[in-house]
């Protein structure tokens, strides 16, 4: 297998808060191949966004990376100097966010915002930057890009703003795009269009995409592979089809069962009992799902199966649900 576009290996992040240290991520490992779309799913607070911020190097001042590497093109982003990271950010890895309306500078014309990134990362002269910005707007499917480039974010719809965000993210043709809930707050039609644009740009440039979402249905539709996170741990990773056919981690299974489908009725949906564990606790069980898990064994409190960060599949469970041999699932 070729070197992955991004390899995250044993990443741990802690937050210093007034009420103690929050172990937000612990031993997170996964990889994404060139051209691949990887979905990272999990409920709110599972550490999806923190993982992305850590990779981008835009974690809050209160957060600290306590272990791990994130290797992109031979460079460990977590160990890189500030200057090196400033070069990588926006050029090699770009990110788009949820709430596109607030993610854009409200008092700067969108064309200028794209031009800012072009001037920073692409070899573009100040004279040519506005023209290049218009071209980028065109590639993300904005009609009348010349006029729209002069618009302010508040003059555009949410979907338009997200297209602008994508144009900003793709300005320097990054090798990896991290999309953090890019369609939250958009209507279903716009969601589909935005996801199509991302997929289209990814396949046009061979860019890898990490797609963070809590919408399993969307992940099922769009991702080649899915990583499931729970309480700052990666619990399972599989090809999309295999994950839905044979979820092996009890949490994945519960998550799928709790996802509404076309035919299911409200009464048929199951819920996942309990809550995320308090990540401030001094002594957490080795498996952070243990307290909610119906298949918990004694060993779950003390040890967790390790994950191979380079493998396409991962499973952090001593007592998985159904156990087809790993090779067969792949």
């Amino acid at each position: 297998m070729a070197a992955p576009a991004l390899l995250v290996d044993n990443l741990s992040v802690e937050f210093q808060t007034r009420s103690g240290v929050v172990k937000a991520l612990e031993g997170v490992s996964f990889n994404v191949a060139k051209g691949e779309t990887l979905a990272v799913v999990g409920e709110s607070g599972s550490g999806k966004s923190v993982t992305a911020y850590a990779v981008m190097g835009i974690l809050d001042a209160a957060a600290a990376v306590t272990s791990g590497r994130a290797v992109l093109g031979g460079l460990d982003l977590l160990a890189a100097s500030k200057e090196a990271m400033a070069e990588v950010r926006g050029r090699e890895v770009a990110m788009i966010f949820q709430n596109p309306r607030t993610a854009l500078n409200p008092i700067r014309r969108v064309g200028d915002q794209i031009a800012d990134v072009l001037l920073r990362h692409a070899n573009v002269t100040p004279n040519a930057a506005p023209r290049e910005a218009i071209k980028l707007l065109e590639t993300v499917g904005i009609t009348d890009p010349v006029r729209r480039a002069k618009a302010y974010p508040f003059e555009l719809s949410g979907g338009m703003c997200q297209r602008v965000m994508i144009a900003i993210a793709l300005a320097a043709q990054p090798s990896l795009l991290i999309a953090d809930e890019p369609t939250t707050g958009l209507d279903v039609t716009t969601q589909a269009i935005i996801m199509d644009i991302i997929a289209e740009r990814a396949s046009a440039t061979g860019m890898a995409t990490i797609f963070i979402t809590h919408d399993l249905g969307l992940a099922a539709e769009r991702a080649d592979r899915i990583v499931v996170m729970h309480a700052g741990h990666v619990v399972e990773a599989q090809r999309t089809r295999d994950l839905f056919a044979h979820p092996r981690h009890p949490y994945t299974q519960a998550l799928i069962a709790a996802t509404p489908g076309h035919t299911s009725r409200l009464a048929e949906l199951s819920t996942i009992g309990g809550n995320l564990p308090d990540l401030r606790a001094a002594k957490l069980p080795a498996c952070r799902y243990a307290a909610r898990c119906p298949r918990k064994l004694a060993i779950c409190d003390s040890s967790l199966p390790s994950i191979d960060p380079t493998a396409p599949e991962a499973l952090a469970c001593h007592n998985p649900v159904s156990s087809p041999p790993m090779g067969e699932a792949a």
């Binding site: 981008m56 835009i58 400033a86 070069e87 990588v88 950010r89 926006g90 050029r91 770009a94 990110m95 966010f97 709430n99 607030t102 993610a103 854009l104 500078n105 409200p106 008092i107 700067r108 800012d116 990134v117 920073r120 990362h121 302010y152 508040f154 003059e155 965000m165 900003i168 993210a169 300005a171």
Partner: protein, 337 residues
């Protein structure tokens, strides 16, 4: 944009009319009879009545008001009873003195307080944050006359760095030819370096006194506003796009944070304009504030009216300038107007 300015000007007219009426009534309601004051303690009833007739204060209020308004329409603000000078002329020479002092003070504030606020916001908990907090707390807690006297004591009496704190210019120099009334500008226009430097030396201590007082609101507002904007989503986007930190802080964060700072600046400026009487007294500055206070003590209502009207007009102009600045900075203001 032009419709915004026009609308704001139209809105200013009712407030100006209100100010004219209120100042007229207020000055008439002041205790003390200007005619009696003017006639002196030894004057007879008859003499006072004559003066009253001359001043027109024996007529009904409505007639007085009519005369007052028609005078105003001709730009006539009446004469001071104590000095006999035309109030309009007096204000025209004294207002630039106050305005120059206040504007230089404000410039000092902006130069000092805005970077302090930005640095304090970008490095919360650092030494610069603490220094900002201490300096701004000290700035508001020390009364201006005290800061003024302290500066005079240190820089004039102890160190001898600044000239004696009396007036706008050294007594041995003559004022530059009157063009704007701002000595610094007039001296620069007249290419008179000596007068320029001398005027600047006189100006720096009172301006600094004002600046120290105004430092706190501006620095604190800049800090708070920057902190709010720095945690906004679009700043995160700018960071994630790898934009340089100066670009992120200046173009993305500060331009968004500047609106409340401008509002505060306008409030501070109008406050300083009217309230720097104490500084003018300490530095024997021939400004409009001390002029108004002296007139008020003497029940000399024409200068008081003139002062209040001037201040009201300035205040309206200032608010208009702030609104225009808002429109220039924030496109959303332009649209909604």
């Amino acid at each position: 944009m032009f419709s915004l300015i026009f609308n704001r000007l139209m809105l200013a007219i009712p407030s100006l009319i209100g100010v004219v009426i209120v100042t007229f009534l207020l000055t008439r309601a002041l205790p003390g009879d200007p005619a009696a004051y003017f006639a002196g303690p030894a004057a007879t009833e008859q003499a006072i009545a004559e003066i009253r007739a001359k001043l027109g204060t024996d007529k009904p209020l409505i007639v007085q008001f009519g005369r007052y308004v028609s005078d105003l329409a001709r730009g006539e603000l009446g004469n001071s009873l104590t000095t006999g000078q035309s109030v309009a002329k007096e204000i025209a020479t004294r207002l630039p003195a106050s305005a120059e002092l206040t504007l230089i003070g404000l410039m000092l504030v902006v130069i000092l307080a805005v970077p302090m606020g930005i640095l304090a916001a970008t490095r919360p908990g650092s030494w610069i944050d603490h220094v900002t907090r201490i300096v701004s707390t000290a700035g508001v807690s020390l009364p201006v006359f005290f800061t003024g006297l302290l500066l005079v004591y240190v820089f004039y009496y102890r160190l001898g760095l600044s000239p004696s704190p009396v007036g706008r210019l050294d007594v041995f120099l003559s004022a530059p030819p009157h063009i704007t009334g701002f000595y610094l500008i007039d001296a620069a226009l007249a290419r008179d370096a000596e007068v320029f430097v001398a005027a600047l030396k006189q100006l720096i201590l009172p301006a600094l006194t004002l600046a120290i007082f105004a430092l706190a609101p501006i620095a604190r507002m800049t800090r708070a506003s920057m902190l709010a904007v720095l945690s906004a989503d679009f700043v995160r986007t700018a960071r994630a796009s790898g934009l340089s930190s100066s670009k992120v802080i200046v173009t993305y964060a500060f331009r968004n944070a500047v609106l409340p700072v401008i509002t505060t600046l306008g409030m501070v400026l109008s406050f300083l304009l009217g309230a720097n009487v104490l500084v003018e007294k300490v530095f024997a500055w021939p400004g409009i504030g001390s002029f108004a206070v002296e007139a008020l003590i003497a029940s000399d209502y024409a200068p008081v009216q003139g002062f209040v009207l001037t201040m009201a007009a300035l205040y309206v102009a200032l608010n208009l300038a702030i609104d225009i600045a808002y429109g220039l900075i924030d496109p959303r203001v332009r649209i909604s107007s």
